[in-house]
Amino acid sequence: MIQPSYLNVFLTFAKNSMIRDMSFRMNFILQCISSLSWAAMNYGLFLIIYQFSDSIGRQTGWGESEFFIFLGTIWIINSLIQTFFMANATEFSEMIRTGNLDFALLKPIDTQFLISFPRVNWAQLANAFLGLAVIIFYLHQLLNDPSKKMDFSIWSVFAYVFFVFCGTVVMYSVMIILASTSIWMGRNQNLHNFWFYITNFYRYPMEIYERGIGWALWGTFTFVVPILVVSNVPARVLAQPLGGHWGLWDWTLATMSVVAAAGSLWVSRCVFRVALKSYRSASS
């Protein structure tokens, strides 16, 4: 049986988006500048906070360098989501409303794939590079700090990339599930709001929730909607707030990250499939 080449289709999407971005050059540049300045302000804010404190919480190990590695990780995941999925999820909601999803349904290729990737928003990738730069800088600081017992090798890099990937998959799935609900609601402008609420919680090391009613949030965002796992697992692999040795809890979190990625992707496919059954197109 003839199979479409998913890679070729994806590369064509990426290329077409690039051509398109380049034909609106000014817009592209402004987008880069605005997202970079957002990141810079974000960074400045935490620099200020770290003037008042050396660490988030006692004995958590999230000192300044560790935390900025965490922050860089957040930027990378956010930027991957915004580059590859944000515009597409919004577009998907719109396709449902206008009936343009019809065309996606006609194509002999996995529909979820087809609606997930058509637009690549290259400008948003700027923050990923910034995140990478920040991470390299602070990792360098940590490795040259004799008081830290870092255990860093090429495997840490592989593990980091892998867990960032898992995290991105979880965030993508959450997004697709949210977008799919527009089929029932007819219109879904909550997508951005939801996204904002959720990302608000995953932007910090999970230890900050480990007190008082914070535990409720901790439980919810670790086990129910595992977004804390998304950011914490890769960040801990590099920053090693409690030293290089992996305890039981680290292994549990790492396993959860993989399970969450596979599980949420599966759930997103189910929700997507069920949602399509209710799709009613639009009268011209």
Partner: protein
């Protein structure tokens, strides 16, 4: 399956009737029909919006819905290589039927096979073999040249490169748009864009093609070009095409078979000539008469005189009366020329639509609905 009609002449017009007979023999049927629709129905539940603020707040808690029966109990067979038109007033259910056939939406009840596949299961093997073009919608990348959208389709449909290049060049040449391939779609005129849409849909050489108003909004020249193209394309490839259009010219030029759909049901299934025979009892007669103008005085008294412009007179007359009236006239006047023609097709169709919407197609079926088995 070409049948003799009553007058003894060979025609396509009775395909529909013969097909109905064939239905009674299931094996016959299985082997022949490329599109097989049985009792297909689809309704939409639409939210009844109330006017005013209070009513809309009440609507938050208690919603009132209305059922719109877009397609009701349609049964139809199409044979390989047929070029069928769906004709019907706005809101008749033509587009909905095409969407069901393309598997874009699910029906409420009924059954359908296209090339042996159930469309709404959306198997890739099925989706690779047909195409849907919607004149009111655009599926090309708006900001990019059409060539990029074509390339994308090549990858999605996994068309081998050499075959793709050949088909694309051939289609572009036929439609005369090769020079526009590099221009962003948003800068193309409606007609040019429509041609590109067609090409995009044909790159994978679909065996079945659904065209929903492919000539909507086009000027006469562009319309004609697309007709010619479709005709040539279909003659060459012998694929099966279902087309909807509100332009009778499209249908006259292309389709041997016309299915009239009104209020979600099939109202008539046959050739255009059939429609005229069935729905128009009149002929238009034009006479050219020699002699002084006074001779027209008598003729002016004929009922339904449309136009008198000596030496010509044009009048409308019941089909059954044509022979008698003409022989009367011939024996009285010095007739130099006679033209007997059908009334304009648009007029007949308008009458059919009015009939179809006036009659209760709802429950008890129209006494002489053809094509509903």
């Amino acid at each position: 399956m070409i049948a003799l009609d009553y007058s003894g002449s060979l025609s396509f017009s009775n395909l529909a009737q013969t097909r109905l007979l064939a239905c009674k023999h299931p094996i016959y049927n299985l082997a022949m029909s490329i599109i097989e629709i049985n009792h297909l129905s689809k309704s939409y539940r639409v939210y009844q919006k109330q006017e005013g603020v209070w009513a809309s707040i009440r609507g938050l808690f208690r919603r009132e819905y209305r059922e719109v029966q877009a397609v009701r109990d349609i049964s139809l067979q199409v044979e390989p290589g047929e070029f069928v038109a769906f004709l019907g007033p706005n809101g008749a259910g033509k587009t909905t039927t095409l969407k069901l056939l393309s598997g874009v939406i699910n029906p409420d009840s009924g059954d359908c096979r296209v090339m042996g596949h159930v469309p709404w299961e959306r198997e890739n093997e099925y989706r690779r073999r047909f195409a849907l073009v919607m004149g009111q919608k655009n599926q090309l990348w708006w900001d990019l040249p059409a060539a990029e959208s074509f390339r994308l389709n090549q990858h999605i449909y996994a068309v081998p490169l050499d075959e793709f290049d050949r088909t694309r060049d051939e289609l572009c040449e036929m439609l005369d748009v090769t020079h526009l391939l590099g221009q962003p779609v948003r800068e193309l005129s409606l007609g040019e864009r429509m041609k590109m849409e067609l090409i995009a849909a044909l790159l994978h050489s679909p065996e079945v093609l659904f065209l929903d108003e492919p000539t909507i909004g086009l000027d006469v020249v562009a319309q004609h070009k697309i007709q010619q193209f479709l005709k040539a394309y279909q003659e060459e490839r012998k694929n099966t095409i279902v087309l909807t259009s509100h332009y009778m010219k499209d249908i006259q030029a292309l389709c041997q078979r016309v299915v009239i759909i009104a209020q979600g049901s099939i109202f008539h299934d046959g050739s255009l000539d059939d429609i005229i025979d069935r729905f128009s009892g009149d002929k238009i007669v034009t006479l050219q008469i020699g002699g002084p103008d006074e001779v027209f005085q008598g003729l002016r008294k004929l009922p339904n005189v449309l136009e008198v412009e000596p030496p010509r007179i044009k009048f409308r007359i019941g089909r059954d009366d044509v022979a008698r009236t003409l022989s009367d006239i011939l024996s009285t006047y010095a007739v130099e020329d006679i033209v007997v023609e059908d009334p304009p097709i648009e007029e007949v169709i308008a009458k059919v639509f009015t009939d179809a919407q006036g009659g209760q197609v709802d429950d008890e079926s129209h006494p002489d609905i053809a094509g509903v088995s």
